[in-house]
């Protein structure tokens, strides 16, 4: 007989716990106040507006560095999340496993398309290629209107390697 499907609450709890552990470990993500919405395996990063994020007090506009950091955080977390997903679903994810180690940014290029307005911003990353060592990610950021991006970026990342001393 086929195994009965897992109750939906159990699945949701497992996924949400893994995500909040992944995100909660990084002080800089907490400092900027970035959170992640999850629908299935798709993540949307949210940057709630705060005065400390302002780079141009006259306009006012969000600091270009904050925009870049927000897109980079979205890329790194989306990448980690994608690598972690299979282990998470097969139940092979152990508590403090190496799976929570972050990819390292090799390079990151941001297009600033509009100034960041003093309101919440959102971002979603698409993993264009994910190999054993390198990954390429494209990420889009918007505010009120999904079609009107305020910034987009492409980055290359070095994936965490399995520890050689692993027994």
């Amino acid at each position: 007989m086929r195994k009965p499907p897992e109750p939906v609450q159990v699945i949701k709890q497992r996924r949400d716990e893994a995500l909040s552990k992944l995100v909660g470990r990084v002080p800089y993500i907490q400092y900027l106040g970035v959170t992640f919405d999850r629908r299935g395996d798709e993540l949307t990063a949210v940057l709630p507006y705060a005065v400390k994020l302002i780079g141009n007090p006259l306009l006012p506009a969000i600091h270009g560095g904050v925009t870049s950091a927000f897109l980079e955080i979205t890329s790194v977390i989306s990448l980690s999340w994608a690598t972690l997903w299979d282990d998470l679903e097969s139940g092979e994810l152990d508590g403090d496993s190496t799976a929570f180690r972050m990819p390292k940014t090799i390079d990151f290029t941001v297009d600033y398309l509009r100034s960041g307005l003093p309101r919440d911003a959102y971002a979603r990353a698409r993993i264009t290629r994910s190999g054993r060592r390198y990954a390429s990610v494209h990420v889009e950021g918007w505010q009120d209107n999904r079609e009107k991006l305020f910034a987009q970026a492409t980055g290359h990342f070095l994936m965490p390697q399995p520890r050689s001393d692993k027994s």
Binding site: R25, V26, P27, Y28, I29, Q30, Y31, L32, V51, K52, L53, I54, G55, N56, P57, H63, G64, G65, V66, S68, A69, F70, E72, I73, V76, R101, M102, K104, T105, I106, D107, F108, T109, V110, D111, Y112, S115
Partner: protein, 141 residues
């Protein structure tokens, strides 16, 4: 300290995000600017090692490039980033301040071209390098 550095420093302190990260402008002249940022546990990107997040490095680099453009002898009124690429060459050493020097090496009526290097205490081995283009918004008289 020259008046120019003083004014630029006040300008920097008027930027909420730069002030929040403790950025200090230490030199600015003829399209070249230097900004330092102290190590801060809030900026950690890798909890296993305590290494600062790349995003914090880009905030520093972006500020510094903008300051370099503003200090160019052609006196641009204001500037905004069009594009900024950052190469992360190595992890910054935890506990050490970062310092970035940016040079606005070419400027036209509409666009400024900038290069920047970020170092920690090991100044011979850059942590990151950046190249960017910036808009020119009017001229100051």
């Amino acid at each position: 300290m020259s008046d120019k550095v003083n004014i630029a420093r006040q300008f920097m302190e008027a930027i909420p995000h730069s002030r929040d990260l403790g950025m200090v402008l230490t030199a600015i002249e003829n399209g070249v600017a230097t900004i330092t940022m102290p190590y801060d546990e809030r900026l950690i990107g890798d909890p296993e090692t305590g290494v600062v997040h790349g995003g914090a490095v880009s905030a520093l680099m972006d500020s510094c490039c903008g300051a370099a453009v503003m200090s160019h002898p052609s006196n641009p009124g204001a500037t905004a980033t069009i594009d900024l690429r950052i190469d992360y060459m190595r992890s910054a050493t935890p506990g050490q301040a970062l310092s970035t020097t940016a040079t606005c090496y070419h400027i036209t009526r509409n666009v400024a071209f900038v290069r920047a290097t970020a170092v920690d205490e090991d100044t011979d081995n850059p942590v990151a390098m950046a190249t960017g283009t910036f808009t020119i918004e009017g001229q100051r008289r």
